[in-house]
């Protein structure tokens, strides 16, 4: 027999065993479906959270360049003085751009955004201060550099309050990071449970085929030969479980995407939830296959060699 014939035979045998294990799953549709669904859900949950978190990261990155400081001037400062101050500030080396907004402009902006025009009209005078929006120079990005700029601005006598618009973004990032880690831990735990589910299912399959395994060993089957169909069973569970996870994920995200878009729309962003993911279609089944094969390996390595003819 030439090497290529041996290779072809080997390959054919694997394909045969692969189809054989698939056939066995097919012949117990209810049990297989339940296992696959559990695996699918366990994989879809962290994947779904991951997709949402990825979108959150994208959003916060979009806002990265909106790294700006708002100076609320004291109400005693006149419009001319305010304008002058903004021109002075523009000369600072660590400030790239300034934008002066008078108290009257603040009022009209607020009226427009809040829709509380009537209420404002009833006030005796304008409660809003003049504002200078400051865009720091491009090299001022580290929290330290921005912090010291902020402190200098806040110390100026004309300034009532200097507020870094980044703060909420940083908070968002911290939340994002917390969520990210939470999802990672959840993903690890659920992957472990997929591993154990498959391991346990394969273990039961091995035990239910105990007499068959004994017969096979009696007619000369190696442990490797007996192991193979169970490993492929794990492979199929993982693969189909991964596909089920993808379908579950896509259905869920498509259902929640429009309310999320609407929600974010309220914050004045034209954000579109990127929920459809072909990457996930390759990632989820791949993860499933790895977990399935590993879980099956756990089961077969513990049980196959213990089943000996007697």
């Amino acid at each position: 027999m030439s090497l290529s014939t041996i290779m072809t035979n080997y390959f054919l045998r694997h394909v045969q065993v692969m189809l054989f294990s698939l056939g066995q799953l097919w012949r117990q549709p209810v049990a297989s479906l339940m296992t696959v669904t559990v695996i699918g859900i366990a994989l879809a949950l962290p994947a779904g959270l991951f997709v949402l978190q990825q979108n959150m990261t994208t959003v916060s990155e979009q806002w990265d360049d909106s790294n700006q400081i708002t100076l609320f001037l004291k109400t005693t400062i006149s419009q001319v003085e305010g304008k002058q101050l903004s021109l002075d500030l523009k000369k600072w080396p660590n400030i790239a751009q300034v934008q002066f907004q008078s108290a009257a402009q603040s009022l009209s902006e607020f009226r427009q955004l809040s829709g509380l025009g009537d209420l404002l009209d009833s006030l005796p005078n304008n409660p809003l201060p003049a504002v200078i929006i400051i865009y720091p120079a491009e090299d001022i990005v580290s929290p330290d550099a921005i912090g010291s700029l902020l402190a200098r601005l806040e110390a100026m006598p004309q300034v009532e309050q200097a507020q870094l618009d980044m703060e909420w973004l940083q908070r968002l990032r911290s939340i994002n990071e917390t969520i990210h880690r939470g999802i990672s831990i959840l993903a690890i735990l659920l992957s472990l449970s997929v591993l154990l589910i498959i391991g346990n299912t394969i273990r039961l399959a091995i035990l239910s085929r105990q007499s068959e395994i004994k017969v096979m060993k009696l007619v000369g089957a190696t442990d490797r030969f007996v192991r193979r169909p169970f490993l492929y069973t794990g492979f199929w569970y993982g693969l189909v479980g991964g596909i089920v996870a993808w379908i579950t994920l896509m259905l869920t995200l498509s259902v929640i995407s429009s309310p999320i878009d609407e929600l974010i729309g309220h914050y004045g962003s034209n954000f579109d939830l990127q929920w459809f993911s072909l990457t996930m279609l390759t990632t989820l089944p791949s993860i499933g296959v790895v977990l399935g094969a590993a879980g099956a390996w756990l089961a077969v390595s513990r049980h196959i060699h213990m089943i000996e003819p007697n």
């Binding site: 045998r13 007499s211 004994k214 009696l218 007619v219 003819p309």
Partner: protein, 221 residues
């Protein structure tokens, strides 16, 4: 072909199944292993099939010393032996064809060769028309024939049978014995454990009789 030299088999509960057993079976010989239940017949066959290992002594089969055969080589060793069981040990969720094909599939034979040899084997036991049936659809005698077809499909040098006619009526038993004789006539060493005295007394083969784990007597005809 099969040589036992001063073989002992003790089980962990100190029960001694075989004590100082020595005998020799020639290549191409056909012999019966007889004795009461508990005389050690099954233990002896298990030692040859390496389902058990002896506690003391030496077992040589087909020039291989089984005492020193490592565990990983056992599957390859077993492929030289055809085993027939009283309860057939067929796989009930597979067709007759697939059952008989099992040793060839395990040995990694190619598809065409498997088909050819399975059909040849089924032809010899007279079940060529039943290859698509499940074992459950066959009678006891037919199931035993499937078991024999599986045992001989990879042309083993030795055929071992443990009470192959234990569940069959006299007529069927005679048919099965004739099958074994046919395989012996083409050179296979055949060793059959049985307590079916009525049947074997009509046949001209050596009997190795066990009594409480020892050789009781030898009858050579």
């Amino acid at each position: 072909m099969i040589q036992f030299t001063d073989v002992y088999k003790r089980y962990p509960n100190r029960y001694e199944a075989l004590s100082g057993l020595s005998f020799h079976l020639n290549k191409g010989e056909m012999a019966f292993l007889t004795g009461h239940s508990g005389a050690g017949k099954s233990t002896l066959l298990k030692l040859i099939a390496l389902i058990e290992r002896c506690s003391h002594g030496q077992v040589l089969v087909n020039k291989q010393n089984l005492t020193h055969l490592p565990k990983r080589k056992i599957p390859y060793y077993r492929r030289q032996i055809g085993l027939v069981f009283q309860d057939h040990n067929l796989l009930h969720d597979r067709t007759v064809f697939d059952n008989v094909a099992l040793p060839l599939v395990i040995a990694g034979e190619n598809h065409r060769e498997i088909g050819r040899r399975v059909r040849a084997s089924l032809d010899k036991v007279g079940l060529l028309g039943k290859e698509r049936n499940l074992p459950i659809a066959l009678s006891g005698g037919e199931q035993q024939r499937v078991g024999i077809a599986r045992a001989v499909v990879n042309r083993p040098a030795i055929l071992l049978a443990d009470e192959p006619t234990g569940n069959l009526d006299p007529d069927l038993s005679r048919d099965i014995m004739q099958l074994f004789e046919q395989f012996n006539q083409v050179g296979t060493t055949v060793f059959i454990a049985t307590h079916d005295h009525d049947l074997i007394h009509t046949l001209p083969y050596r009997q190795i009789q066990l009594h409480q784990g020892r050789l009781a007597k030898r009858e050579v005809e």
